[in-house]
Symmetry: D2
């Protein structure tokens, strides 16, 4: 089978580089187009982007010429979008109209009614709304989105707990600096410090999970009926968002029941290349998960859970620019292929 052609929009930034990294030797997708701002267009990728990941930039990617973020210049079946929110609003629609599948990591379209906000392990059935999206808008292509990097960690852990009747959630996040992009957090702001505020983050965290856990009734997504109250904080960690979560549930399960629900959780996605062996890893040590030690589990796609205590309280942690961004979009794209929307 020929590989599906993939482009990356906004390829030079922190998430863009993670997209490039995630498409190395991908069995289904082939990186055919790298698009970035005017300043970068026309340059070799290795000249346009200062590569900042610990892995090495593949030589053939380094040599590719960056094109403009324009449907006419991008040659691909699917584009992964790491564009800034304001630019994404206009551009993602243009690509969808021009027939591209758009897998977006950007916030701009997440809460739009007919756009699925996907975590394949949680709500793959929401994909069906794509058909309505295309119909209503007259698009050949379509837009799918993945959640905010803080939402996705705890939202994934909600799926196996839905059966207990989730009523309310408190969440306090300790977020890595990479979540703000390469220049996002000056070292003078965060060295030896905590910043108890991330612009617009709590707003996203408090609304996205209800859509993800909602049900698609054939016409629209009916939001799940629970409240989320978030307090978001930046800490001096490179990668990996750690979250302290309290969940109030109708059935008042014991920590052992919650642990069992996590352990037996199998979303049935083992045929997707980016899907980790375990979507949720349960750690029984008293002091895990920790971002430095656990963020790369499942190639950065597993969410690690620990310290399940009465309350129910627990800690969840995952890699914010892989599971929380580029990897999430790529997994979504793999689901699109599996469900026949692509390829």
């Amino acid at each position: 089978m020929a590989k599906i052609k993939a482009g990356v929009l906004g390829a030079t930034g922190a998430v863009g580089q993670r997209f490039i990294e995630g498409l190395r030797e991908h069995p289904w997708f082939e990186l055919t187009s790298i698009a970035a701002s005017e300043r970068s267009a026309g340059k070799k990728y290795s000249e346009a982007a200062k590569w900042r990941l610990e892995s090495e930039l593949p030589k053939d990617f380094a040599e590719m010429t960056v094109v403009n973020v324009d449907p006419k210049e991008v040659e691909a079946d699917i584009v992964f979008s790491a564009l800034p929110s304001d630019e994404a609003k206009r551009v993602e629609a243009e690509f969808a109209q021009a027939g591209f599948a758009v897998a977006s990591n950007t916030a701009t379209n997440r809460m739009v009614d007919d756009v699925p906000l996907l975590i394949p392990e949680c709500n793959s059935e929401h994909l069906e709304i794509i058909k309505l999206q295309q119909e209503r808008r007259g698009w050949d292509g379509y837009i799918t989105t993945n959640p905010n990097c803080t939402t996705i960690m705890f939202a994934l852990t909600l799926k196996p707990l839905m059966k207990f009747g989730i009523q309310g959630i408190h969440i306090a996040s300790m977020q890595a600096v990479s979540g703000a992009g390469y220049e996002g957090v000056p070292s003078m702001a965060i060295l030896g410090n905590v910043i108890p505020y991330i612009s617009n983050e709590e707003e996203k965290v408090e609304i996205e999970a209800q859509k993800i856990m909602g049900t698609f009734d054939g016409q629209k997504i009916v939001y799940a009926d629970f409240d989320v109250s978030a307090s978001c904080h930046r800490v001096p960690v490179m990668d990996g968002h750690t979250e302290a979560v309290w969940i109030k549930m109708r059935d008042d399960p014991t920590p052992a029941e919650v642990r069992d629900a996590f352990l037996s959780f199998d979303p049935g996605l083992s045929d997707l290349p980016t899907s980790p062996k375990k979507a949720i890893i349960v750690r029984d040590e008293p002091d895990r998960p920790q971002p430095r030690l656990d963020r790369n589990r499942g190639n950065g796609m597993s969410v690690s859970v620990g310290r399940i205590r009465p309350g129910i309280r627990y800690i969840c942690m995952g890699h914010n620019t892989i599971r929380g961004a580029a990897g999430a979009s790529i997994l979504n794209a793999e689901l699109l292929v599996k469900k026949g929307f692509l390829g």
Copy 2:
């Protein structure tokens, strides 16, 4: 007036050094005795302790000879205890029996029925229980304690909110490494990392505030009637515990009402030398308080509060080895003087 003689027990460690620092040029207390373990006894303090604070060790303190932690060797009216918990259990009682006032920063006696767990701004009336303590035990001296360094930050903020009818508290802490003592947290454990666990910390945090906010009925302290659910985390910060707090209150006050309660809070302790001008400082910037910028407010004795949001949610932060440890004990001692229990 002659100064009151003060000794420090466990004077070489992180909190012990903060006691020494806090007694420099104290208007009421004079450091007359430095006590530490056998290994240190007999040495000059500057040889027994590797001074690790940014302030300079006063020369006359440096020259003092360390004595054993033994009532017979310590010459003082009051002793400040920074002993390890297991040793403190036996030793603090010995000192109280021998007639010393003991102001302890150690956990061991905090929850004992007839020992006051004091925050002068919150429950100075609990001091009266000292008389029962002396009577029952036949002691000439007595023991007072201050709360755990995580408890004290949010507990202080509860006082002005009690009028709204506090029903339940969620708290997620992001704690500085100095809270674990100088050798407590290896750099390999915490550099670029979060450790979502501190041994025994949540247990302390979940029970101490009810005693502090309780009422003394003449015979015993009747605990306040609210629940605390805590999740405690270590972050790569030197000093300053940051806490995300949710408080459920019967009267459901608005953020503005909570802010007003904080702003108008005046515990009437301006005559105590270590009491800060403002016990609670309200910050209106979106991203404050931050440990690096705000921990030294009020010479490390103020608790800074910010981000008061519906919920009610807010952030509070204070210096864990000053307001949360040595400074707390010294302020307690000053209250003892004011109330006639000392000097």
Copy 3:
């Protein structure tokens, strides 16, 4: 005596804020004018600048209105310049021409022949060149400069060693992030990392010391005859540049002789308010100086020296935005007053 009127140019950045801080309650200078870029002009200083120092911004400074960096808008006898290098080239000359004394922390004029590059403890006699500067250029005012923040730490330690016949210097610096300005070093670049490169830094370090240690022959400054070879590195430290220095000297002094030279060094500046009690502090502990513990000695104006070993090798360390920037300029200005060039 009326205070001398002082303005700050480039008042909103990291060094600019240190200027503002250094002028609080200054006995000789009164802050009369705060100048910054067009974007800030017209605003209150507290609105134009996000105050990022641990000290509190004085209320009366907070209320001052920022003016443009224009001699016509600035009312002052002396201006302290923290302007970007490119802008400084034009602007500092304009101010000098308009009659202002300019005490600049910017690189642009440091190596200009008739501009003194001052460290009051090292080369106060270079001030005389100001007269030539004014004569040649027809200026009523004049420009003085202080060295680069890395140069100044080791250059200050050279003064008492000149008598041994300095022949060559190797220096490896470990520099704090504040040296690059607030947005200069992204946290993603430096957390848990070393960056072995600072743009243009080695070039400055390798030439400035020879001018500082040179002799003024009445017409020009004859550079000192030694070589400097530098390797400059950024480390995850907030403030305080640490430098490993090797000095080859004709007389081959012993470490004890070098230590004595440091200890007996007295530049005779005790009448200048910003001059520290000791310009050079000698630490005899095996592991000092350290930036976190020693950078604030002498209110940030002392350079601490330790580990004097055969070679001669030693470590020197000082506060880069105080002794290495704003404090240096203010001390220069105090010298201008003392020598009759100002006030």
Copy 4:
């Protein structure tokens, strides 16, 4: 071919864990024995050691029972030693006498006359001295050692430069905390700080390279004739020692000649499984190598070099617990196999 049986002495610490990690799926060696202190002996390895690496501990290793550090209890052909220096002195000789090959990462035997101090890329011919060692001491086994973790990085870069006539070396190191072992550097000591001192480090760095670069004349190793002057510093980095090096050479090569020497360096060890594709990687970017980005090159076995400037000055950097410790010993063991001393 059956695999060679390998044991690890001192298996629970930071370097011991790196040995365990390095022996996972090793093509030539099979981990057959895990030895540690009395406290650990008898326990399963996963209980005796708190695994602190980002890689996962293989299940079969986790289940192995720890034995005492005693030749009678250890079943192996070769033992890798990560013992503390004082214990190593006695124990390594016991193992060698009992017929084991000992590949030691400990300092204790490095400078002993008839013990090779090996870097396979530099001085594989020194292995011959093993025969003298066995003869003189009447041992069936023998001891080999690898250099100190700071020495090894720059020593490896000396090999291709020896032809230019090395006369003297200045080196300033910026060392990672993992070099001191898990509990070696308290976070309170190093967060946001530099410690310009590492006990006994400069002494090792200043003498080891001469032995490594020396020549074996059939009877003894004649040390290379150059001086090394070191200044060693600890920085807040997890792994990776960065070193600023100045090398004075008789032939005064240009930076381009030095770069060519590095680029064309091929030690001919591509048949050793742990040998990296390139022992020395040359980086041409202005700001590399950096520990966070480059320490894992060549699976942690490559030394990265950059910023080659006149002087000659350059930066070199490598992974201190892999290339500088466990990986070095394992590479030595592979060389023993290749040269017929083992297996």
